[in-house]
Amino acid sequence: MRDLLLILIPFAGAAAALAWQGERSRPYLLPATSLLHTALALWLLFDPPVVGPGAWFGFDPLARAMLPAVSILFLVCSFYCVPYLRTCISRPNRIFVALLLAMLGLMSAAHEARHLGLLWIATEALTFAAVPIVHFAGTPRAFEATWKYLLIGGTGIALSLLGSFCLGYASLSGGGTGDLTFTALVAQGGSLSGPWVVIAWVFLLAGYGTKMGLAPMHTWKPDVYGEAPGVMGAILAGGVTTVAFTALLRVRAVVDAAGESAMASRTLMAIGLFSMLVAALFLLGTRDFKRMLAYSSVEHMGILVIATALGKVGVWAALFHVWNNSFTKGTLFMSAGNIRRAAGAHTVDEVSGMSAITPRSAAIFVTAMLAVTACPPFGPFFSELLIVRTAFATNHLAGAAIFLGCLLFAFFGMTRLVFAVVDGKPRPAAVQGRKRFAETAGVVLPPLVLLVLSLWLGLATPQVLRDSWTAAAEQIFPGP
């Protein structure tokens, strides 16, 4: 029941937001609701419920290993939203608040969904719920981004639906009932019809890969992350992508049960490395620090997928990396949002010397950039190092080499851009920005909190999280 509450609370909040009248006070619903949500999520993390085998929704080990990260990220973002929405009070925020909360609910639902169809429904709904927030700015650029997001995302989602049907049909033609709950599918295991499983995997990988933003299905990402509000970028990059990743993990469990494990690893490794390569290439020459974050996100999705291809330890590392990615990406997006609003632009051609205008945000931005490029002692360093180690241990020498090479090039690109933005002489436009944008605690603390969290996660990973990841990895790869 508690796990269903996790889905219901945000929807209740959304309903409240729709009904709420005060424009100024409505944003406070966000932190209020997500506080409840996070509290509940943490309670569930420490004291996981027993999930019935046939249950459609449930806080099973996989959900337990990921959902709290999303919840915490959302909590921090919601605190950031309050001052953000106050600055653009001109635009009505009813839809914004309601849909953001609905997204939280849908993300919880997707993470907890143990039925392929429901998982798909939640993901699709999530996609469409994000639309109005993406073009919250209301500029033509925002509309263009939304359009691409919709059509590419929609197509991808459609493919994943096709994949889900194929999986169901695999069960049917394997003599099963076509029951789409993961437990049933895994239970049917070897008797699933092989060809259909493979076809299903291809469609699902492509479909949910589009949602994750794996190359070459990533093309919507830079546009959306570049145009959407920073906090939205944080939630997309740290929350929505993890939903798609959960889906892939759950499906992978089925595919392995059907005895197609090698095929899955092969495809995952390939698409992961390709994503990292593309991301590294685009990061090398990028000049727009918000689109840079998008490519960095593509890179990290690639890292997750590669880790998933490496077996049990890899999945453990991947789950670790999900947390790190959520927190560091959140920090980056929020601090970048501050800098963008102060500078009034987001390409290095128009922005420089921000350490003089927004010293705190600039410092946080640089630190988070170092963290996300695997500089110790922040979390990503540990997870990525573990992934490299696992890759070597499983004799993926070439894979590991490419992995490290891409990390290096990504580092080159990101450091160059970020230092160019932070150092140097401030532009006159930004100097006026001093008046336009003040670095209040409300906009500086949230990213800082996430940064500290990621530091803490790296140096002293809590045992309960380690256990939860172990349990989740066990759920994906049962047995030794």
Binding site: W147, K148, L151, I152, T155, G156, L159, V198, W201, V202, A206, G209, T210, A215, P216, M217, T219, P222, D223, M263, R266, T267, A270, I271, V278, L281, F282, L284, G285, S355, L370, C375, P376, P377, F381, F382, L385, V388, R389, T390, A391, F392, A393, A400, A401, L404, L407, L408, F409, F411, F412, T415, R416, F419, D423, G424, G458, L459, A460, T461
Partner: protein
């Protein structure tokens, strides 16, 4: 006082220094000095007492139990860290004072201590994960320390180059430690000579640590970084930081099985670095670039020793191998000491005149006699001349190489060329420092900048004197230091039990001492005699030329021209020369620039090609939705092929 408590004090003091540094300079200085002293003390306890210190704590950092260890090898480096860290801190207070640099000095103090702390932890940590953490923290703080003066564009560029190169090296170490851990099953570090399959790992270590050490040809970042950093930072970088690369290679070549070719490659790289590094130095006109290239040379000398040790270990633990390793370790010390001294001298010159361009200086000994004297002192030391410390280690390395040659084993073919290269490098170093010293300090002031110079303040002279004193100490009483180095050499390789072959270092020390006394005696005697005979001052006799001017002096460029000309095939100097002609010639100019060939002829073209490729690839993101969907379809197709037929 036990080693452990001293080390704890070091860590706490420096960490506290980080905390208070930006706000309270005085307290910061006290804490840093105390920490440095504690580090030296701990190292001394290990080096004299002989037994190492080890701590296995239950505290877990990043999921790994803390495991610290200080043996003679790491103690050698820790002691140097203490000396240079302390001296540089004092110097920095005078050189980079809050008065001159209100907005960067506080940050500089913070990063200084964090760098000291990180380097100390690198030396202490005996766990791969923690080693990497400390290593990267060290790189990051070095970056921010090099670029505390972020207003200057070239400083930022130099810093970024360092950061990029160092990160490339770090990723090699990622791979190195990851493979190591995946084979041994844990992040714990220690001798694993059993795993013969790990031998190829040595190359990864050589790359990863070689970049940091500035081993030729991986030194590309070094000249600009050392030249553009504040001088006390250059001293710390060049005197200590690059030695950590040496530490890594020494450490892991002792603990891991080693491929056959390793010794040859290391010694070859060392010899090449020694000769070419100093050739580049000779051709420089920027005093700090000259010193930086000279670091490349000295690292080369050290690597000659290390490579010889590796060869010796693979040739039945020949005694000359020990000699070479001990010599190399001692040279780490010596180089650290006199290179720090020289960078501080260069810093004083820069501080007094505002330029690093030697051809704008000259005659500074009148305005800054102390700095001039100390620079000459450092020049004698770095050229390996008696009676100072450079001689001791180079003498040891020579005798090791001669020993290898006298064995007439295969390794002789590595030792003999190395010895000759070392000789050439030594003579070139002498030439470079005759050039640097004379052009900066002797003759007449070439420009107003030089004329307006002033002697460095007390805070700056003190550390310089201390370092000079250390150089003299190693030179005149080498035996104590030799025994430390020998002890470290014994602990290098688990199979090396027997002590290093006895060498008459004490005789050398005696000779140095006598010589020093005689030099002083003869000098004063001659001076007395000259003044007794009557000493007149008159303008320099320029063979009858009526009106000599300061611009007629021999310049640095012309001083180095002949010898540098022999290396023009790699130096590739860029000259722009407008000759004077006609009866009434207009102003003529000669601008000479000696870029780093490896950087500008190898790295930059490759990087440029990669960049062009990346920029070309960006066109794929052209904003046309239809093609994006086509990409999606294509990805789907490729995945299908991979899944069905892969």
């Amino acid at each position: 006082m036990t080693t452990g408590s001293l080390l704890l004090f070091f860590v706490l003091a420096v960490a506290a220094g980080m905390a208070v540094g930006p706000r309270m300079p005085r307290l910061w200085l006290a804490l840093t000095l105390a920490g440095a002293a504690a580090a030296v003390g701990a190292a001394a306890l290990v080096l004299v007492g002989g037994q190492g210190w080890e701590l296995r704590s239950a505290v877990r950092v990043g999921g790994e139990a803390v495991h610290l260890r200080l043996d003679a090898i790491s103690a050698m480096f820790l002691a140097l860290l203490g000396v240079i860290g302390g001296a540089g801190a004092v110097y920095g207070r005078g050189y980079w004072s809050d008065a001159d640099h209100p907005d960067s000095a506080p940050g500089g103090r913070l990063w200084w201590d964090s760098m000291m702390l990180a380097m100390g932890l690198v030396l202490l940590s005996s766990n791969g994960l923690h080693f990497l953490i400390a290593w990267e923290l060290f790189a990051v703080s070095a970056y921010f320390l090099i670029t505390i003066d972020r207003a200057k564009k070239e400083t930022r560029a130099a810093g970024w180059l360092f950061f990029a190169a160092s990160h490339a090296g770090t990723l090699c170490l990622f791979a190195f430690f990851a493979v190591l851990a995946s084979h041994t099953g844990s992040w714990e570090l220690g001798p694993v000579l059993g795993h013969a399959e790990l031998a190829p790992l040595f190359w990864l270590a050589l790359l990863g640590f070689g970049v940091k050490a500035g081993m030729f040809p991986l030194h590309v970042w070094l000249p600009s970084a050392h030249a553009n950093a504040p001088s006390h930072v250059s001293a710390l970088m060049s005197g200590m930081a690059i030695n950590l690369g040496v530490y890594g290679i020494v450490r892991f070549s002792g603990w891991l099985p080693i491929p056959e070719a390793a010794g040859w490659v290391v010694m070859g790289a060392g010899a090449a670095g020694a000769l070419l590094g100093i050739a580049f130095a000779l051709a420089q006109n920027d005093i700090k670039r000259l010193l930086a290239y000279c670091s490349v040379e000295n690292i080369g000398i050290i690597f000659i020793g290390v490579g010889g040790a590796i060869l010796g270990a693979s040739h039945g633990n020949a005694p000359w191998g020990r000699l070479l390793l001990a010599g190399a370790l001692l040279h780490v010390w010596n180089h650290g000491l006199y290179k720090a001294l020289l960078f501080l001298c260069a810093g004083s010159v820069l501080h007094a005149t505002g330029t690093r361009d030697m051809s704008r200086l000259g005659g500074l000994w009148r305005s800054m006699p102390w700095t001039a004297g100390l620079f000459a002192f450092g020049a004698v030391a770095i050229a390996g001349l008696p009676p100072l410390n450079g001689l001791v280690s180079e003498w040891l390395i020579y005798s090791g190489l001669f020993g290898a040659a006298m064995d007439r084993g295969a390794s002789g073919w590595a030792a003999m060329p190395a010895a000759v290269a070392l000789a050439g490098a030594g003579a070139l170093a002498l030439a470079s420092f005759v050039k640097a010293g004379s052009v900066i300090f002797l003759g007449a002031e070439r420009t107003g900048a030089a004329a307006g110079a002033h002697e460095a303040g007390r805070l700056m002279l003190g550390p310089m004197l201390a370092l000079a004193g250390a150089c003299a100490l190693v030179g005149l009483a080498p035996f104590a230091f030799w025994s430390a180095a020998a002890r470290a050499a014994d602990q290098w390789h688990p199979l090396w039990a027997a002590p290093v072959a006895a060498t008459p270092v004490h005789v050398l020390g005696l000779a140095n001492l006598t010589l020093a006394l005689l030099f002083a005696a003869a000098g004063s005697l001659l001076w007395r005699k000259a003044s007794a005979n009557g000493l007149r001052r008159s303008p320099t006799w320029d063979c009858g030329y009526a009106a000599p001017t300061a611009r007629m002096q021999y310049t640095g460029g012309s001083l180095g021209r002949t010898a540098a000309g022999w290396f023009s095939w790699i130096l590739r100097p860029q000259r722009s020369f407008r000759r004077p002609h006609g009866p009434f010639p207009p102003s003529s100019t000669l601008v000479e620039r000696v870029p780093d060939t490896v950087l500008e002829s190898v790295i930059e073209p490759v990087a440029g090609a990669a960049m062009r490729f990346a920029l070309g690839a960006r066109r794929l993101q052209h904003g046309r939705l239809q093609f994006y969907i086509l990409y999606l379809l294509g990805g789907l197709a490729v995945l299908a092929v991979l899944a069905l037929f892969g």
